[in-house]
Amino acid sequence: MSGYYKKWFWPLALPGLILFAAVVLVPFLIGLFYSFTSWRGTYFVGGSAWSSFVGLDNYTRIFQSRQFLHALLYTLEFTALAVISISAAGLLLALLLDYAGKRVALFRTVFFLPNLLGGLALGFIWQFIFQNVFNRMFGEGGLNIEFLTNMTQDSTKNLFALVIMVTWQMAGYMMIIFVAGLNNIPRDLYEAGSLDGANAWTKFRYITLPMLMPSITIVLFLTLASCLKLLDQNVALTNGSFNTSMLSLQILRTVRYTQPPDYGQAQAQAVVFFVLVAIIGLIQVYITKKKEVDA
């Protein structure tokens, strides 16, 4: 049996592997290599890739770049806030749907709707809402909430503007994952809880949350990855003004802010970015998996 599959392994796996190698693996390795050179996008300083080898220069310069370090910090702050906000909103929606029980199909449809929009389209709408509509609604003469006005004109406020926007966009998706998770919790657990006199909060804390751990792992993984790599929304809202560049945007900017364009440097930043995303992703999976086992 295993011999049969072994015979067919290469013929059947090859199309996928070739595609993967050509699109992801090889460009990634080339990029890794270029990050050690003074690559300029269309040429190498000194003629060839080998002669423009600069060792770790690009990497040491990264950690001297205030802009890059700021973008790094900003990305981490945004990600922390956004992951919490999206997961909490998704869970809340799921609990509400689950509780309401019947006639919720329409709500589900509505909550998922924002996921269909691309970052660019959505960015155009929200830019106008934050700069015009919010200022009317929350400005003087309106509800008078200073924090919600001119949100795209301040580094901190914009962090929250981005969080509002991605929560709006992604909460519905996470809701669906949580609904499925809730459906898998055996109801008699709650009945047992009721008999023990547990209130809604203790039941949520000691039954719902632990039983939802598998869904939470997935939700955290999805939100972490997409928040760390966020680009379109960042471009659409502020395009980096007011110190609001996140890493994806900062890397694209590096070649624009240097003359001749320093692609080697941008490539090194991207490698650091990858390492960061990979470490955070792996730590997250490790921790939540551990919790699942414990629970």
């Binding site: 190698a21 269309t42 364009p261």
Partner: protein, 500 residues
């Protein structure tokens, strides 16, 4: 057993592939191959003449029997797109570039020094490009033929000036304005502002001549809500273009700025401090839709303080001055074509002292009567295509710039001011005509901002423009001399930080 051999085969395969690709892209200095489906390729990095260029190329094709590939694009992404075309197998023979691109293309060796052009006519043409307009890395080369001349200043509708000051003929007023000192200009701004608010103001002196205000407002002057139409959301309007005025005190050209010494950058502090004072004056007297526009969050809001809004404010008579360039003409045309015939440029003035100016032979008076004019883009020849393509591209450039038909094309179809315009060149575009007048009178400044770090993209917008927008335009209240100094010092610091 089998496991190990599969695994090692796989790693070997991947490594081989990667290495192959690196070699291919890294060391592969392939020989230029002749294109098969066209004779040569023009990469036109300017959207303004995209359509006209298409027609011109069609005519040139009909005339010569050649097939030309033309690609036009004029957005902020043009540099990235050009790079990707330069990397491709179908490389442009003729491409657009400027001082920013020169650093890149001269280092890669893709740009032809026209001093060594194979076409003698092109060589001669290039030699005639006036020294200050030449494209070079350090002043010795001559890399391109200018597209055109652009310029900017304070655009004014002379009818507005006539009615404000009850003038029979605006000419003497305009001449006195050009010659006026900064203090006279500052006073004019304050008095116009008072007149807008109350309908009364003291007479103003310009170049020593008195100009009293009209006794009562007219239909036109009563529309005014402020002196300047500002676009606080657009950093390039002040970061690049106002910043450039101050740079002109120290650098006489973009090449100069590009090769600036640390000491020269330090010398920018004085002019930048004076510029900050001027920007304070402008932003404190800005026009809004219904009344004056105050500094603060709404001053930089991109839905209410955008480029369009500023043009609209000016075109509908809500502001006396619009600081913009001749490229704004079609935008005004869409909004209010009636004012087009009476538009003209006035110079932007700075409160400089003679010791602020480092450029040899430039006086404060001359500085304050001049408008910046520069070449935004150049045609350059790519050395990485075949000899034949290079030769054909050179012939096209010669045709465009020396033949009767080519020169007519530039003026009439592109609506461009030729870099070698003389008296005989006349446009319907009054702003173009105004620029030619300044050019003929020798009252021009240059474009050193294009030579600042990463051109406008970095220093102009991300350093100087950002400081203004994020820390000063964004808040209400007065600016102090201390603020002027801070703006100047931090902007200089931002430049020095990236010098290497």
């Amino acid at each position: 057993m089998g496991k190990r051999s599969t695994w090692s085969r796989w790693t070997a395969g991947a490594a081989g592939l990667a290495l192959g690709a690196v070699l291919l892209s890294g060391c592969g200095s392939q020989e230029a191959k002749a294109p098969t489906n066209y004779d040569f390729y023009i990469f036109n990095g300017k959207s303004e003449n995209a359509e006209a260029m298409e027609e011109v190329v069609d005519r040139y094709e009909a005339e010569t029997g050649l097939t030309i590939k033309l690609f036009s694009l004029g957005t902020t992404d043009v540099a990235e797109t050009l790079r990707s075309e330069m990397n491709s197998s179908a490389k442009p023979a003729l491409f657009s570039t400027n001082i920013g691109g020169v650093m890149e293309w001269s280092e890669s060796g893709a740009i032809l020094d026209l001093n060594e052009a194979s076409n003698p006519e092109l060589k001669a043409l290039a030699a005639e490009v006036p020294e200050p307009l030449r494209l070079s890395a350090d002043g010795s080369q001559n890399y391109g033929i200018p597209y055109n001349i652009e310029g900017y200043g304070l655009i004014v509708d002379t009818r507005m000036a006539e009615q404000l000051f009850d003038l029979e003929n605006p000419e003497p007023f305009l001449e006195d304005f050009k010659a006026a000192t900064y203090d006279e200009f500052e006073n004019l701004v304050n008095q116009v502002d008072a007149y807008i608010a109350t309908g009364q103001a003291d007479q103003v002196m310009l170049n020593g001549s008195p100009y009293p205000f009209a006794a009562s407002k007219t239909e036109l002057t009563s529309r005014l809500t402020g002196v300047f139409a500002e676009a606080g959301a657009e950093k390039w309007t002040y970061g690049d273009h106002m910043g450039n005025i101050a740079l002109n005190a120290v650098f006489s050209s973009a090449v100069d700025a590009r090769n600036a010494s640390e000491e020269q950058v330090e010398q920018l502090k004085g002019p930048l401090e004076k510029l900050a004072r001027t920007l304070d004056l402008y932003s404190a007297h800005a026009a809004g839709m219904e009344g004056p526009l105050e500094r603060g969050p709404s001053y930089i809001n991109s839905t209410t303080a955008s480029y369009d809004v500023s043009v609209q404010l000016f075109a509908t008579g809500k502001a006396l001055f619009l600081k913009q360039g001749n490229w704004v003409y079609p935008n005004i045309e869409k909004l209010n074509a009636d004012i087009l015939p009476t538009l003209t440029f006035l110079p932007i003035k700075l409160p400089l002292q003679q010791e602020d100016i480092q450029v040899e032979g430039l006086t404060v008076e001359q500085f304050n009567r001049s408008v910046p004019q520069f070449v935004p883009s150049y045609y350059a020849i790519n050395t990485k295509v075949t000899e034949r393509e290079q030769e054909l591209a050179q012939q096209f450039l010669v045709w465009l710039n020396t033949t009767e038909e080519g020169r007519r094309t530039i003026v009439e179809d592109f609506q461009f001011i030729p870099y070698n315009a003389d008296d005989s060149v006349k446009f319907e575009n009054t702003l173009n005509n105004s620029l030619i007048q300044y050019q003929l009178a020798g009252d021009t400044l240059s474009n050193p901002f294009n030579g600042s770090p990463a051109g406008g993209a970095y220093w102009g917008q991300e350093v100087f423009g950002s400081i203004l927008q994020e820390r000063y335009y964004n808040r209400e209240g007065e600016w102090t001399p201390e603020d002027y100094r801070t703006i100047a010092e931090q902007s200089v610091q931002g430049w020095q930080d990236v010098m290497y």
